[in-house]
Subunit: 73 residues, 2 copies
């Protein structure tokens, strides 16, 4: 979530946990996409993942994201 | 997601990425709750997190989960 944007799901979760008795200060909710993609190199996989984020996965107005590439022969 | 349960969001995301031209084999979607909670020790924090998962955060029928505790003085 970019700074200045609210996280309604996190806020609701924090409230519910407090109602259950937990001393919760804050809850942030984020999503992980584990994408298995064919690529010739880790660099190519990273470039594709970056594109996927921009074209589909991330909302440019409010979402921050990080990409982690893992290899497999 | 526990074995045998489908991940409709992952399947839809995989389909959309393929329609955009990516050679995607599979997409799994999961959620991360970053909970800031007051506790006297890491052990207590872990116990509370385990409880929170059972009582609210995880769906016992279909969700697998892992817990990571980070400390702060």
């Amino acid at each position: 979530m970019k700074p200045g944007h609210s996280d309604p799901e996190g806020e609701t979760t924090a409230r519910l946990l407090r109602e259950l008795g937990y001393k919760v200060e804050e809850v942030g909710v984020s999503k992980v996409y584990n994408v298995v993609v064919l690529a010739d190199s880790k660099d190519e996989a990273l470039m594709k993942a970056e594109e996927m984020c921009k074209r589909l996965l991330a909302n440019p107005t409010k979402d921050n994201y990080t990409i982690l590439v893992e290899g497999e022969e």
